[in-house]
Assembly symmetry: C2
Homo-oligomer: 567 residues x 2
């Protein structure tokens, strides 16, 4: 029995290794077009930036080590140019020798991955314009940096784009980040992503959202090239990184007549089988199902690719398997902050017509009384019946843990009630007796059972028009250093004693309470409703409001303290 | 309506705060015997050690702040001395004034907590012998240290004991740790806890397991006292910390005739109601149900206490609630290592007659190619049907995250198949494409479906008697620096070429393969079984074997490298 695997990185190599463990005698041939197999794709930006110093650290295996360990026949610089499905053969070109050969298979695994999108714009074929997908890509970028590049333009503020921005800054380049969308990191909702945008700006990155790339041209400014934006602006650069996304590499599958999705991804069964029963496919090249919405899509992530490879091997060996729908759990470090997500964004749920609620909170990553507690900015999305739909987190510590717990809860079909009851590990250096996750559950429960009515940044303009009483329940000192115009300041600890004043000020209008994070205004909301007032508490407080609306008008009575002292 | 809460720390204060949020008009009285409410019990060892410098950081609220924020009537140094259930009154002693008063209630919440066990042994009433449960306890310990204490004996190697050991070492004391059980940290299985014991020794802690306390007497060595062990040994000490556990503080409930468990804990319904329908109870004083075994028990942990307080408040206000069985998720930092657990240990499952399997593994806490990856020592316990039963982890980074994910998976009723499919956040600084949790799932799947047969440290003596072929598949260099006596060294990369040699050496005997962590011996196991050999792979490799059996005979052929270079 001969099994041929096309593509020797994440999904392909997982399939090959698992195949060997399942069957000691099968002939397993791995054909890889590039010069490397099993390389650390996700480590490339860190090698460019210098954190991973040795290039060799990226090369997890070689054909020789895979032969010794797993008796695999791994051939690099070998490209499969066609599949003859009837004959069950592939044509393989030896890219070094320039020769073609035909290789038969009993089972074929397509792990052809994805390729960076290069828009059809003028000048993108210049040598200073690079993508970052392979080790040679990283080599080329490092060569440009080592040759003295001083300024960079990164096009696309997704994961690769942001990691490369950090790498470039780490190497001392000035960096402009150009993103067509109105926000960075479109995998997150705008009010969470804006915290990452602020972090980029704090590290001197020139962030241009809502800006399109038009061309790369000869420079007028003495740099290697000029990046021309769609509004005509020119930005000089010595290196340009295109990080505008990837598309499935499925030319081979298409030519072989395998069923593809409208997006060009290979359609597979839950056992990773293509429309040809002798061909399986895995990884970035295939169509997957979204766990929450059930929508088909393409999710180019290493984790699912590796697991699909393992499942394909099991399926080929006759085992019953069923691959899982994909949550799209992802994480990125951006300077001192980390942003992570699991499940769809609120924006995507809205587009899909899925009814949902969102709560925002900013708990500490561990007990506040233990030194070093940092805020985690957390958004939890849930259905009207309490079922968890997704979550996002931004912060400097503990973000990965919370998103992993929420990804597990999401896959388990947990509700916000379950989040409230989760029993997580607590000692002062690690968490809180009521962990951030529990707090999110409590908060969502309160929203669902009517204990808490919230208002959000989306209502900002309408609450500023005088139709409501804005009631800021922070301390007088916090209020003085920055507040919304027209807000009445009654610290929550004084609210009961001053309730008549509030009722009078409301004069029949609804009361919209706010504080820094949403907790004190929740306490105030309970008091206000008990006095018969139409009340709502600002979800996530001013921290979330200012992240969602950095343009919000803020009145400053004092400059002694930053606007959110207790953030 | 008046609600009286007895005990103003975790569970009691959570109940009181939630009650106010549910009902603005109720009279809520909190009676606390001690001088502080809402203090950070779990932070006490860190204050003793100096990490939490300011005592005031431990005091999260005061009666005044709780009055201002939540309109609570909090009375410290007020002890409830009796309950008249028929009259629905409590008798309260003002410990400052020395006066008694009677206070009526419509609902009563008992959050009386637990008290440190002080065994009835001679000399434990000496001032140098302390427990650590309250802020005054921490004050007393700090006073002893500030007065020049140089040597300490800590009795009991549970969570408080270990945290206090670290605090004492942090303050420069010599420390002897005395534990009656044959291991430290009995909340973990012995083969995991022994890694913590090694860490203690590496930090110059004199660890005495299997050692009983007999008395504390006048010192013969010039220290403040001598701690006398049951074998007659005397250890001089300037301070002695008793950390041998706590028992529910239920004298009040007992005197009132409320139903107690044989262990003396208050028996409650899932809505936290005691045998008296007007009295609820929460926290360390109550009996809880173990999530996995269903057994009743007492779990004195802050997380469940806080959530029970919240639920009791809901129940009192007529909401339908059902508290959860308890997993016993817990974590402790011990110098550079962290140990954590969720669910019962293998030892406890065996005692309860619950059939189960355990796998051990040692994956990196993030991608190995990114600088700074540290091993996580992970034990995952599961049922024959794959259902997760518990987990333990020890390591220097990422331990809390993995145990929190496993605690979530355990509560969700997940199987090892689910662990294999979990989609966790991966970028090089945070995890791996196949996270430690996925790897645990793969490994357990392999054990259950017969891909992998394991042997363990429990079989060490029988595999050393010549009845099996011990096959060490590590590299020749690793083998030379330390191996089991009589083992044949065939590196796994050479196994296929040398299989005839192995068959001959086996001479019909079973083969017991081993490596450092269990992965290479798994690969070898697949090769060996394909050649018809009776094979098994050492679970967790030599790393787990040496943790379980530090006394294992090791033959050293070379002293150039530590015994487990690739550990």
């Amino acid at each position: 029995m001969r099994i041929v695997v096309v593509g020797g990185v994440a999904g392909g190599m997982s399939a090959a290794a698992r195949l060997r463990r399942l069957d000691e005698t099968a002939e397993i041939v791995v054909l890889e077009r590039g010069p490397d197999v099993s390389f650390a794709n996700c480590g490339l930006p860190y090698h460019v930036g210098g954190e991973i110093r040795n290039r060799s650290a990226l090369l997890l295996h070689t054909p020789a080590s895979l032969h010794a360990s797993l008796d695999l026949d791994v051939r690099v610089r070998h490209e499969v140019t066609s599949i003859d499905r009837d004959a069950r053969t592939v044509t393989v070109r030896d890219l070094e020798a320039g020769t073609d050969a035909v290789l038969g298979y009993d089972a074929l695994v397509l792990a052809t991955g994805a390729e960076p999108i290069v828009p059809p714009l003028p000048g993108l074929d210049r040598p200073e314009v690079r993508t970052l997908r392979t080790v040679p890509d990283a080599d080329a970028l490092r060569d440009l940096l080592d040759a003295g590049a001083q300024s960079a333009v990164v096009v696309g503020a997704g994961f690769i784009g942001l990691e490369t921005v950090e790498a470039f800054r780490h190497r001392g380049l000035t960096v402009t980040l150009v993103e067509l969308a109105p926000q960075v990191l479109p995998a997150l909702d705008a009010d969470m992503a804006s915290m990452i945008e602020a972090e980029l700006r704090a590290h001197d990155v020139d962030v241009r959202t809502g800006a399109g790339l038009a061309a790369v041209e000869d420079s007028r400014s003495g740099r290697a090239v000029d990046v021309v934006l769609s509004d005509g602006e020119r930005i000089g650069a010595d290196v340009v990184l295109l990080g505008v996304g990837v598309r499935p590499s499925t030319a081979l599958a298409r030519a072989a007549g395998l069923e593809l999705s409208p997006a060009g991804a290979v359609v597979v069964t839950p056992s990773q089988q293509t429309s040809d029963p002798h061909i399986w496919a895995v990884g970035d090249a295939i169509q997957v199902t979204d766990f929450v919405t059930g929508a088909p899509g393409v999710v180019p992530l290493a984790g699912p690719a590796n697991r699909q490879g393992r499942l394909a091997a099991d399926a080929i060996m006759g085992r019953h398997v069923a691959s899982s729908p994909v949550l799209g759990t992802a994480i990125v470090r951006v300077f001192g902050l980390t942003a992570a997500v699991t499940g769809p964004t609120s924006r995507r749920l809205t587009a899909a017509g899925v009814e949902h609620r969102v709560v925002h909170l900013h708990p500490g990553h561990h007990a506040g009384y233990y030194p070093g507690a940092e805020s985690i900015h957390l958004a939890v999305i849930f259905a009207p019946d309490g079922g968890l739909l997704g979550a996002q987190a931004v912060g400097s510590a503990g973000v990965d843990k919370r998103i992993d717990v929420l990804a597990t809860a999401l896959r388990a079909g947990m509700t916000v009630d379950d989040l409230a009851e989760l029993e997580l590990a607590y000692a002062p250096p690690f968490g809180s007796a009521k962990d951030a996750i529990n707090m999110a559950g409590f908060l969502a429960q309160n929203v669902l059972d009517g204990m808490l009515t919230t208002w959000s940044a989306a209502e900002l303009d309408s609450v500023l028009d005088g139709s409501v009483l804005l009631l800021d329940v922070r301390s007088a000192r916090e209020f003085a250093v920055g507040h919304l115009p027209g807000a009445l300041n009654v610290p929550h600890t004084r609210l009961r004693g001053r309730i008549d004043e509030v009722v009078e000020a409301a004069a029949g209008r609804p009361v919209r309470a706010l504080c820094a994070s949403g907790f004190r205004s929740y306490l105030a909301h309970r008091v206000l409703t008990s006095h018969g007032l139409d009340s709502a508490s600002l979800d996530g407080g001013l921290t979330t409001l200012l992240a969602a609306r950095p343009d919000a008008p803020i009145v400053v009575d004092s400059v002694r303290e930053p606007v959110l002292a207790s953030r």
